[in-house]
Every structure is written in C-alpha cells, then in structure tokens.
C-alpha cells in the first residue's frame, strides 16, 4: 500500500472509531434534511395556493425552488461543520507526539499532507453522498432535472475540499484543537465576507479580484448547472495552494 493510502486509511478509521464522524454526519444530515423538507413544504404550499387561485396546477421549477436553496444552505452548514471535522488532523498528532512517528518514518511531508487530506475528503464525500437521499426521495413525486443536482454536488464536493484544506492548514498551525477550529472558522468566514465586499465594490478592479477570490460565485455557477473551466480551475488551484501552504507549515515545524 502506498504511504499516502496508509495515512488516508488510518484517518478514515480514526474518524469512525471515535464518535466524531458519526456525530458530525448526524448533525449535518439532520440539518440538511430539515432544511430540504421545509423547502419542499413551502413549494408544495405555494403550488396549492396557485391551484386555488388559478384553477390549474402551476409548473413550478423544483430545481430552482428546492435544490438551489438546499445547496445554498448546505454551503453554510459546511462552513460550520468542516472546521470541526478537520481540527484534529494535525493538532492531535502534535499534542500526542505521534507526529514524531510520521516524521521519523520513511514518508515525505507531501505523503502525510495528501494522505490526511484524502482521508478527510473521503469521510466528507460519504456524508455528502448520504444527503442525496433528499433528491432520490423526491424523484417519484415531482419532476425536476438531475443535471443541476449532479453539478451542485460536484460544487459541494469542491467547496468542501477547499474548506477541508483550509481546516487542515489551521490544524497544522497549532497543537490545540480549539485554536484550530477558531482559525479555520475565521478564515472561511473572512473569505465569505470578501465575496460580499467584492459584490459591493463590483465596479472597481479590487472588487472584481475580491469577488473572484471568494468561493461564493464559483459555487453558485455549479449549483445553477454551469460547469465552466474557470470555476474548476479556481477550486483546483485553491485546494492545491492551501495544501502547499500546509506542507510548508508542517515542514517548517520540524526545524523548531
């Protein structure tokens, strides 16, 4: 087994032997389920109202009314749960001194960083996959297009990947898990705010840069069903750059 695979497998395992993954996944799925249910309820109420007023069943856009809102809320919930999912990745190893085992084994820092990232990404993808119960359950009762849902999930996976890499970086900076959570929270919210600020200043060059840096718009395109290279490149470079920073941080901690 490759060293990256060995680390990834160990991370996945340790999420499941402790209650962390199951608690986080339960909360995530519960909130997502609640939101989606409310969106479906609102949509069906609205269609009943229109039926009463107009006398015929309106042609409502389920993709627009239910799933777009679901993905928006998913992004917010991810903002809340991902820092908690990633906080232990490096902080715990540094606290318990198990980092010494990894650093004195024939592994490169790249192996360690990639292994941990792929491990937590797999756990997150599993969580995300379970939330797909919502569209599947709705399919027999309503008509909607699957393509935007697939691209929406792709967007959620990429956005999640970016958040996870930021969380990994934060966890590498400290041996205190609480500090890791706060750092990654702060960083993610800051990028969110940058997007808003960019929208407000959209006329100026600075506004455009800020807007580009924030993940909001790139995610939004995928949720709308638009798969564009520029958005994919944004996520890929964002993740790669954050992982590179993590590599630098872990490598430099060795010197101290």
């Amino acid at each position: 087994m490759s060293p990256v695979g060995a680390i990834a497998r160990k991370e996945i395992r340790s999420y499941f032997v402790s209650p962390i993954a199951s608690v986080i996944a339960s909360v995530f799925l519960l909130i997502m389920g609640g939101f989606t249910y409310l969106f479906i309820l609102t949509t069906s109420n609205r269609s009943l109202q229109m039926l009463r007023v107009q006398g015929n069943l309106p042609d409502l856009n389920i993709n627009e009314l239910v799933f777009r809102s679901m993905f928006h809320d998913m992004a917010v919930v991810m903002l809340l749960v991902i820092p908690i999912l990633t906080m232990r990745l490096f902080a715990e190893e540094q606290k318990l001194k198990t980092m010494e085992l990894l650093l004195t084994s024939p592994l490169t820092v790249t192996d360690i960083v990639l292994g941990k990232f792929l491990g937590v990404l797999t756990v997150f993808a599993g969580m995300l996959g379970l939330s797909a119960v919502a569209p599947l359950a709705l399919a027999p009762f309503a008509e909607f297009r699957w393509a935007p849902i697939f691209t929406g999930y792709l967007g959620a996976l990429l956005l999640g990947g970016l958040f996870l890499s930021a969380g990994l970086l934060a966890s590498g900076l400290t041996e205190n898990q609480i500090i890791a959570v706060i750092l990654s929270f702060g960083a993610l919210l800051l990028f969110w705010i940058l997007g808003w600020a960019g929208q407000l200043l959209s006329e100026s060059a600075l506004g455009k840069i800020l807007f580009y840096l924030s993940p909001i718009d790139h995610f939004e395109n995928l949720v709308k069903g638009l798969v564009e290279t520029k958005d994919l490149v944004y996520f890929a470079t964002g993740i790669a750059f954050t992982l590179f920073l993590t590599h630098r941080v872990i490598d430099s901690r060795r010197w101290r």
């Binding site: 010494e100 085992l101 650093l103 004195t104 084994s105 024939p106 490169t108 060795r254």
Partner: protein
Amino acid sequence: MIQVEHLTKQYGPKTAIADVSFSVEKGKVLAFLGPNGAGKTTTMRILTGSLPATAGRARVSGFDCFHQPMDVKRSLGYLPETPPLYSEMTVTEYLTFVGRIKGLGPSRLPKALDQVIEQVSLGAVRGRLIAHLSHGFKQRVGLAQALLHDPPVLILDEPTSGLDPRQIIEIRELIKGLAGSHTIVLSTHILPEATAVAQRVVIIHEGRIVAEDTQEQLSARLRRSEKVSLTLKQPPLDARERFLTLPGVLSVHQEDETTFLIETELGRDLRDDLARFTVGHNWGLLELKLVTMSLEDVFLRLTQQEEGVVDGAAVPGEEDRP
C-alpha cells in the same frame, strides 16, 4: 555505523547542542548520559533525519541525515521519549499501520508483525486497545514499533523512563539481546542503566560532550589517586597524623570518629601496609576497602565543574571530593 561530527543545533538564540562529535561502531551500544535538558533528545532527533542541525554532519549507515533523510529513516528505528501510540487502535492495528508507513509490503508485513510481537512479548495483548495497556506494555509497543522493519540501527530515547524496577530489567535485557545484531544509541539520566547495557558512555551536559569513553576508562581517567576507606574500633586521637607518616600516603580525611578516608599515590596499593600498621598498633581494624569511583561520582564531578572541562578531556587541576 553512526558518525557525528561537530553537530550544533540552535533554537533561536538558545543553543541546544554545541560541537557534539562521536561515533558508534556496528553492533555496539552507546549510552547518552546527561541531566534532563542536556541535549540528548535533540541529538537523537537529528540522527533520525527529522530535525535538521544548524551546523555539523551526522551519518547513519553511511547516509547523511540531512541530505538523505529517507534512506536514514529506512535504516533506523526510533523510540521517542513519549512512545508515539494511537490509543484508539489495538496493538495489531497499530503495528500494521506502522508497517505500512515503514514500507513493509503485504508479503512481509504479517511475518514481521508476528516476529516483533514474539520478540517483545506482546502476544498476550495483541488484540487489546492500546489505551487499556499498562505503562510497561505501552513502552514495549513503542519498542515494537521501532523494531518492526528490522532496522540495523536503533535510537532509543529514555527507553526505561517511568517503568517499575521489574520492567526496567526486562527492557534492559531486551536491549542487551538486540545489541550485536543492531547498533544502538540510547539515552538515559539514570547512571546504572548506562553501565548495565552500554559499552561506551557519552556524558553530555548543557549541550556539550564533557566525556566520552568506556565506563572503566572514564573513572580511571578521573582518578588522580587511589582511595582506601578504613574503619577502626578504637582509633587514637592522633590517628590522622600517624597515618600521614606512612610512605605513600597523600592525605587523610576523617569521615567520622572511626572511619578514615586515606588517599594514596596513584598505582600504589597500600592496603597491605595499612592493615599491618593498624593491627600492629592494636587499633581494632574493622573494615578496609578500596574506594572506586562510581559513574555517579564521575558524572557529578564532570557536570559540576564543566567550566574547567575541555571537550572530552579529563578534569584538569584538582581538589578532592571529601
């Protein structure tokens, strides 16, 4: 097998080790002795290839610890002071993970696992969670981790710290058994441990090597004179002066009413003369013994006067310990 030349490590303005040089031959055991904070762990971590040195060179199995860290890491097993254990894993799961990151393939891993479990007697607990193991067993799992890929070099940082006396003896026996087929560097701040397992002792204090030699050589080198301890039943009041009249006696120190510490010229054993002298005067000779310097004395002596010590050389000048 291990060569360390002029190694220096600075953490910011603080110097952890300065100009440390030593070497270990294949199959030998070297003990690093020094108080806590002397720089033992720093030196060992540099040897493992995980901590870069500020200056100097270290080579393990012919590989440079800075330029070829992967080769170094493959050829050594390291047990840090705190065994790096994942408490939520069972012993077998943990060692399987370690085997994978040490590069043991699925064909070699099960055999290596059984072998190491046998070697450090972990058979009874192999299915248990590490969190539930006693301190002694945890230490063994740590040792198993270092031995798993059968490296020619072992670096053990305080392998017996925090163990009970029976466990200490077991671990020491284990280390002695590994010597010969493995080159071992271990650190300790417990002196008898160094003598129990190592052929060579390096004494390190405040980041500098204050002495490096075999234990016998170290005590011999620091000994300026032979000392004899003498206990009499009824010594006369002027016993001290009377002893001084004997040829070869350098000084006499009265420890208490009946015990004298007599210092004589180096290489001259006066025990016979002293016995005849005291018996002839009918002073009631109760005990007569040659005082040898323990490693403890050597250690204290070296570390208490480090300002007078020049790199590895013996203590110059000299007063006496009473």
